[in-house]
Symmetry: D2
C-alpha cells in the first residue's frame, strides 16, 4: 500500500483527489488537512462521503508531524504556499505531488514575473518534473517532486503537442481560446462566482495576463525546440466542470486532414487517457473521467489548423492527473483507480 | 459471469445501466438493443464510451434470437412494450428485470386505469416482484421477474416506509411533493425538454394524475396494512439528474425527534444504500451513486412530520437499483459494481 | 414627479427596484445608498446600467440627511435594520416602503419569536400596511408605511386567498411546498450559494422554521376569519429567478373544477397582475414581470385542491410589488412603469 | 402608426420580435404567421403573453393576402424560405426586413457556395441593404429590403469594425472564437438541444464551415477595403441567451491601449447601443437589451489585439436590430421601443 497525505483536501481539487485516493486499491489515506475545516470530519464539508469516510481534517502543523507515516504528499494549495511543505517532505524522503503552481515553471524569474512573488526554493526547481505523463512519463517514473500541471495547460498542451513536436505550425501564430466551468475558481466565498453571477452568462477574464500562460509556453517551446509566445484567453462558462480549449495555429505547409489525423493518432497511440476523435469534442463526454478528447479541423481557406480538446478540469486537469502521476512514480499500472468512464447526462 | 442483454440501451436509463454493467466484475454484456440506433455502435450515440465499448446496437428481433445466450434480460422501454419480450425471456428461463412500468402494479385493472391500456400478460403479475430491495429483498432473491420501481416511487416509498410500517401517521394525510431533473423525461426530441424551455424555470406537471401515484400507494398501503391514497405532485427542475421528494404526513401521536430518528435508523440500519441524515438532503450529495439520503423534521406547530429524500433518478431510481436487484437475484454481494461515491460538484 | 430614495440599492432586490424606478415616467431617483459600495457608481456594481445611470452610491448617514428631498423612501435591508430609518423618514413626512421584514407582522411578540430580536419600534406597527395590493389596496392608498410582502408569502397568499376567503378548505390542512431561484438568497459572498454548490442540485431548507411562515399565516388567517397554522417548506432551485408555490388543502365540501376556477376568476377579475390559468404555471412565463400566474387542480381521489402559483421573486416578490404599492399610494395608475411582459426564453 | 406583419412569429427570434413590436408605441401588428402553430393563439405557444395578446397565428398563404394592410413585413424563417415572400411584398410596395440569411450576401454565387442552394431572386440583391445600423445607417434609411445580420456576425463585425476601418491589423490574422446560448439553435424538437444534452457542457460546432463566416468576411472586407478571410469558430454554451465573440488580430504597428480605446470610442461615439468598456464584457450585462458591449486588450507579448463583444443573440443579434432598422427606415428615433435596460441577475 502507498501511504498518502493530502494538504488542502477540502478545496474542489483536493476533494476530487480524496475521491480517487479513497477508491484506489493500493492507497491508504493517512491524513487529510484543511485550513478552513480543521477539526471537522471531511464528510461534514462534503456530505457525499457520509458513511464512507470517517477522517477528521487536521491542520498543516499536525500534517507536518505525520510526514513520517506517508510515502507521498499531495499538496493542493494556492500558489506560494507549497515551498516549505515540499522541502520538509522531500527532506524526509517523502515524494511530493504539488497540484499548485509553485514548481511548474523551471525558471524562478519567470515565476516571479507572473506570480509577483519570489520563488521560495529555487534550488528544487531542477529536480521538479512537470507532471504531464503523455510528455514526461520517463522523468516522472524517477521523480520525487512532481509539479502537477494546471487545468488549462493540460488541455492546451495536449491539444497542440503533436503540431509543435512535428513543427507543423508557425510558432508565432498560436491562439488558445479556452473555456472553463466554475469549479476552476475554487470553493471560496466570492460574489463573482455566486450562482446568480455566473448562471446564464459567459465572460472572458485574465485576457493576455493569465498565469497559466507561461506554463503552456514553456512546454510548447520545449516540444518545438525553441521558445515561443502564445495568446491565451480563458473564459468562465456556466457549468460546474470541464475545460474546452480551442487552439488555432497557422500551418507551415499544407497537410491533408488524413495526415494530420495520423500525426495525432501516432503521437497518442499508446495513451490510455487521450482519445483522438474524428468528431468535435464536448466536455460532457469526458466529465467525471481522466480522459482528454481531441478533435481536429483544417481551415483550408485560411491555412489554419484548429485543434479542440476537452477535459474535466478537476480530474485530468488536477486530481486524476495527480493520481496518474502517483501510479507512474510507484510503478503501478497507470490507469489503476482511474478507470471510471465519463457519466452522462 | 452473468450474461446479460439490455433492451432499450440508448435511452438515458438504459445507457446508465450499460455504464454499471460494463464495469461490473461479474457481468458480461452479450447484446445491447436500441430501436432508434440499430446498427450503430453504442459509442456513436454515447461518445463518452468511445474506445471503451465496441458494441453495435441490435434490434429487438435480433435480441430475441439471442435470449439463449443470457441469464438475465434488462428491459428499459416505455410502458406497454415489455409484455411480449418478458414472456419470451421467462419461457426460455431467462430472468427479467424490467425498468419500465408494466409489472409494477399487481392489479391489472389498476394498470388499465392509469395507463389506459389493457395489461398484456396479467398471468405474470403474481410472480413479478416489486424490486425495491429495502422492502422486498427476500422475494427478490428468488424472483424471475423484477419490476424495477419508478424513480419517484423509489424516493417516495423509501422516505415514508418507516412511518407507515410503524403506523405513525394518518394515512389520509400524505402529500408527496417531488422534484426531478430533466433526464427523467428521457432522450426524445421534444420541444418541452429543450434546454431553452427548461433552463431558468420550474413547473409542476401531471398534477393529481401522474402514473407513479398508484405504485406509491400500492407499496405504502402494503406497509401500512390497509389501502391508502396520496396526493403526489411531480415538478421539473433545471438540472440533469436527481429527485428530491418532500413528503408530509400528520402524526397520529406526538413523537420526539429523537424517537423519529431512531425509528428511521432502525428501519434502515443494515441498508448500505440508505443514509438517514441529521441534516436536510440535497440531490448533489447522491448524484452519480445508488444512494438514497433521507432527512427528517417534525413541525410541532402543525403536528406534521416532513421527510425529505434524495436520489439520483437514473441510478437508485432506475439503473443502479436494477443492478442491485440483479446482484440479489444472483447471490452476489449487493453493492458489488455499485460502490461508487457521489461526485461533487 | 415622485422623488424617491433607495436604501440598500445594490442588493438584488434593491437593484431590481432601481431598474423599475429608473424607467418609471413619474419618478425621479434622488439618491441610492449602499453599505458595501458607498462612493462607487451604481453602474460599477451593476454594469448593465453603464451609460444609462450615473448615480454614485451614498451611505445611510448621508441618505438620512437627504430625506427632505424625497417623497418616499424604499428600504431594502435585512430584517432588523429598518427601524430607525423608517421612523426618521416618517417623522419628516416621507412615506416608507420597506422591502424587508420589519413591519410585516402586526404582532411585535411574533416578530421576536421568529426573528429572535426585539422589535425596534412596535408603535409603528399599527400604521404599517401589509403591501399586497390584491388584498389591501384600499389601506395602501392612504398608508405612510408599507411593509412590502416577502417573496414566498406573495406567491403563497395569492395562491390560497380565494380558498380561504370562501372557506373552501380545512384550515388545518394547508401545506405549502415552495421553490425559489437563488437570487432569493441575496448578493452576498457565501459558499452555499456559489454556482458550484447550487447548480445541478435541489434542496429544502428552513424546514418547519422559515421566517416567512408567520407572515403567510397572518394573512391567510385574516382571510379565513380565524388564526391558522400552515406547513411551509422552501426549496432552493438552480435558476436565477422565480418562485413556484405548490399549495395543498383539503376541501371542506366537494366543488367542481369549474366552480373552483370561477371562484378564482371572480376573486382576481380586476387584477392586472394576476392571471388565473387553465394550465399549470411555469416560472419562466412570469420571469421579468410583475405578474403572478395561478393554476388549479382538484385531486378527487384525496379530496384535496392543489393550487400552484408562479412569480418572479425579485419583481412581484419584491421590487415590482414595491413600485405597485408606490403607484397606489401616490394615486397613479397601478401598472404604470410595470407594464413589461415576461421575456422568454 | 406603422402596420406590420411577422412571418415565422413563433420561433425564438420571431417571438422576441413580437415582444418588441407589441410594446412599440408606433407599431400596430396586423398579423402573425406561424407554420407550426397556424390557427392557434400566439399566447398558447408563448403563455408569457397570456392576457396581453389575443392574436391568432395565420399561415403564410393568408399572410400573403394581407400584405396590402401592412407597411413592413418581418420575415423570420430559415434560409431559402424568404425569396418568394420578399418579392411579393416588395412588389406591393411593402418594405421587407428579413431576419434570415437570404439577402445578406451580395454575391449570389457565394450564397450558393455556403448554403448549397441557388439564390431564388438574385436580382433583388443589389437593392438589399445589410442591416447593421452602426455601419450602414444611411443606406438603411432609404432601403426597401433589409437583410438583418446574423447573430454571430453582429457581434463579430461590431467588435472588429474600427480595427479594419483604420487598418490596424493584418487582415490575414483574424480569428473569431464565438460562444452562443442555446436559443440560437431555435425552437425545434432536436435531441442535440435537449436540456440534458446541453447542460453542464460546452462544445464547438461548424468549425471552419459555419454559414455566418462569409457574412462576416463580406462586411470586414468592405471596411478594410479589400477582401479577407477569417477563421470563425462558434461554440454552444449552456445558457439561454447571449453571444460572446472573442476576436484576435495581429497589430500592423504598435499602438497604445489608450489610442486603441480612443479609436473605438470615436468610432462608436454616437451609437446608443454600443458601449465601449474599459472592462471585459459579460453577456449577462446586455441580456434582455439591444446593447452591444465591447472590451479591448492588447497582448504586447504577441503583438495581438483581443477584442471581446457581447450581445443578446435574440435582440441585437436578431429582433432588436430588426426593430432598430425599422425605426431608421420609417424616420423614427432609433431607440424608440428598444430602450429597455438589461436585467440581472
Amino acid at each position: 500500500m502507498i501511504n498518502v497525505g493530502v494538504i488542502g483536501s477540502t478545496g474542489y481539487a483536493g476533494q476530487q483527489l480524496v475521491w480517487y485516493l479513497h477508491r484506489h486499491p493500493h492507497v491508504k489515506i493517512r491524513f487529510l488537512s484543511s485550513h478552513n475545516h480543521t477539526g471537522l470530519s471531511f464528510s461534514a464539508t462534503y456530505p457525499n462521503y457520509r458513511n464512507f469516510m470517517q477522517d477528521i481534517c487536521i491542520d498543516i502543523q499536525e500534517a507536518e508531524q505525520q510526514l513520517s507515516k506517508i510515502d507521498v504528499l499531495f499538496i493542493a494549495l494556492p500558489h506560494g504556499k507549497s515551498f516549505d511543505l515540499a522541502q520538509k517532505a522531500l527532506t524526509q524522503g517523502v515524494k511530493v505531488i504539488d497540484l499548485g503552481a509553485d514548481f511548474r515553471l523551471t525558471d524562478a524569474n519567470l515565476y516571479k514575473d507572473w506570480y509577483d512573488l519570489d520563488h521560495g526554493c529555487p534550488q528544487l526547481l531542477s529536480q521538479a518534473v512537470y507532471g504531464l505523463p503523455e510528455l514526461h512519463r520517463d522523468k516522472i517514473k524517477n521523480a520525487s517532486l512532481i509539479a502537477n500541471p494546471g487545468c488549462y495547460p493540460t488541455a492546451s498542451i495536449l491539444a497542440l503537442a503533436p503540431l509543435l513536436k512535428e513543427q507543423l505550425i508557425v510558432k508565432e501564430s498560436i491562439v488558445i481560446d479556452a473555456k472553463s466551468g466554475v469549479s476552476g475558481a475554487g470553493r471560496t466565498a466570492n460574489i463573482a462566482t455566486l450562482y446568480t453571477e455566473c448562471s446564464e452568462s459567459i465572460k472572458a477574464y485574465g485576457v493576455a495576463s493569465h498565469r497559466h500562460t507561461p506554463e503552456i509556453e514553456q512546454e510548447l517551446g520545449l516540444l518545438n525546440g525553441s521558445p515561443l509566445f502564445i495568446s491565451f484567453t480563458p473564459h468562465l462558462v456556466p457549468m460546474n466542470r470541464g475545460i474546452l480549449a480551442t487552439c488555432y495555429g497557422s500551418l507551415r505547409t499544407q497537410i491533408s486532414k488524413e495526415a494530420l489525423y495520423d500525426c495525432y493518432q501516432s503521437f497518442y497511440q499508446n495513451e490510455y487517457f487521450v482519445r483522438v476523435l474524428d468528431t468535435i469534442p464536448e466536455t460532457r463526454n469526458v466529465k467525471g473521467s481522466n480522459l482528454c478528447d481531441i478533435g481536429l479541423r483544417i481551415d483550408e481557406r485560411t491555412g489554419r489548423v484548429i485543434v479542440i480538446s476537452a477535459i474535466d478540469n478537476l480530474i485530468k486537469g488536477a486530481a486524476g492527473q495527480a493520481v496518474q502521476n502517483m501510479n507512474i512514480m510507484f510503478g503501478l499500472v497507470e490507469m489503476i483507480g482511474l478507470d471510471i468512464l465519463p457519466m452522462v447526462p
